[in-house]
């Protein structure tokens, strides 16, 4: 697997790997680059790329996971977005949904606003925070082998929190639809069929 100039994994390859052979897995992409990343992997009604709501991607995953306990739910977000909603790790750890995986693509920067450093750049340990909240499977991913192990773990089930250290080089924009009512309606229809619109 390719690595960037920093020797770290490349975000687009990472997300493509995690979404490969996804079956019916639902994916929420945190605002900014993670939303573009899940879109670059292939835009589908099973994706909910976010254009806002900073800090809430993980807890949106909790609401979705609770509503669809038979489906795998994957939240892909960034370090800045996760830091803004860090308290939600406590909320999620207490509810312990067995079908939710939260993956933080950690480039240690706010990528959309001029690459200012985030707290993870200064040693703040998101994996340690998640583990201390009570998410037993909280892991750090740095290598291709660890990424493949994470992919398998996500497919196997269980509540998972993972931080993947990624190269900070920005990637070309791959924008999803911007009309959010369509993004919501298409995922609801993918899950529930046309009945979704009569609820």
């Amino acid at each position: 697997m390719q690595t960037g100039p920093t020797g770290k994994l490349m975000r687009r390859e990472v997300v493509k790997t995690l979404l490969a052979d996804r079956g019916g897995m639902l994916a929420i992409g945190g605002l900014g680059a993670p939303a573009w990343d899940i879109t670059a992997a292939g835009d589908t009604p099973l994706n909910l790329p976010l254009w806002g709501g900073m800090g809430a991607a993980a807890v949106m995953g909790l609401g979705l996971a609770q509503a669809q306990p038979e489906r795998r739910v994957l939240v892909v977000t960034g370090d800045g977005e996760m830091l803004m909603g860090i308290g939600s790790l406590a909320t999620i750890a207490v509810k312990r949904p067995g079908n939710l995986a939260i993956v933080v693509l950690d480039n240690e920067h706010y990528g959309e606003t001029g690459m200012q450093e985030t707290a993870t750049r200064h040693g703040v340990d998101l994996v340690g925070m998640a583990r201390a909240a009570g998410i037993a499977d909280s892991r750090l991913v740095r290598t291709a082998e660890e990424l493949l192990a994470l992919h398998q773990a996500i497919r196997a089930g269980g509540l998972i929190f993972a931080v993947i250290k990624i190269d900070e080089a920005p990637q070309p924009l791959v924008l999803p639809p911007r009309e959010a009512s369509i993004l919501q309606a298409r995922m609801r229809e993918a899950i529930m069929g046309p009945e979704a619109h009569l609820q």
Binding site: L26, I28, L48, W51, G52, G53, M54, G55, A56, A57, V59, M60, G61, L62, G63, L64, A65, Q66, A67, Q68, R71, G85, G87, S88, A90, T91, V94, K95, A180, S181, L183, Q184, A185, M187, R188, I191, M192, A196, Q199
Partner: protein, 174 residues
């Protein structure tokens, strides 16, 4: 005839059942304690206690994505924590009913409750939320019913504000 002065929390719970509410997100408030107990005792309602109220907006959006109706319970001070997050249900057209117990609006003792209590309706409305107030115990059930119907029939954030006149002001023994 039920006694609305005492039973309004049970009437809200009955409305939750009537509307098929499956997820209740909350930061606790004393005014909601009886309703919270009823929800916790119900195996068909998933109660999620939040670390901050804005999480509830995200949680309700996620639940609706998966076909479950949700409600957010909070105190008026918590409304201030939700303001930017209301862009999520507005942009997605998500039903997002909120039931808010008021502080800082009637006989308040704590100065810190006044600014947000006084601004609750204004800021919610500034963020596109349909707001209805319940000033008496008899008002509560019909107002909450309207708030639920407006949310689920017209796809937007809505709120009932339950007055301190209904709940009674906390006096800290003074």
């Amino acid at each position: 005839m039920s006694d609305a002065a005492a039973d309004w929390p049970d009437q809200i719970y009955a409305l939750f059942k009537e509307h098929g509410i499956r997820q209740v997100a909350l930061v606790p408030d004393a005014g909601h304690s009886r309703l919270i107990k009823r929800c916790l005792a119900d195996n068909d309602i998933k109660v999620t206690t939040l670390t901050t109220e804005e999480e509830g907006i995200g949680l309700i959006f996620g639940g609706w994505l998966g076909g479950e109706k949700g409600v957010l319970l909070m105190q008026s001070s918590g409304v201030g924590n939700c303001i930017n997050m209301l862009s999520v249900p507005i942009a997605h057209r998500t039903p997002c009913p909120m039931i808010v117990t008021m502080r800082g609006d009637y006989g308040e003792f704590n100065p810190f409750q006044i600014p947000m209590g006084n601004a609750t309706q204004t800021v919610l409305e500034a963020m596109g939320t349909l707001v209805k107030r319940a000033e008496t115990p008899e008002d509560v059930a019909p107002t909450v019913n309207a708030t639920l119907r407006l949310a689920f029939n017209t796809y937007r954030p809505t709120a009932t504000l339950i007055s301190q006149r209904v709940i009674g002001a906390k006096t800290f023994g003074k």
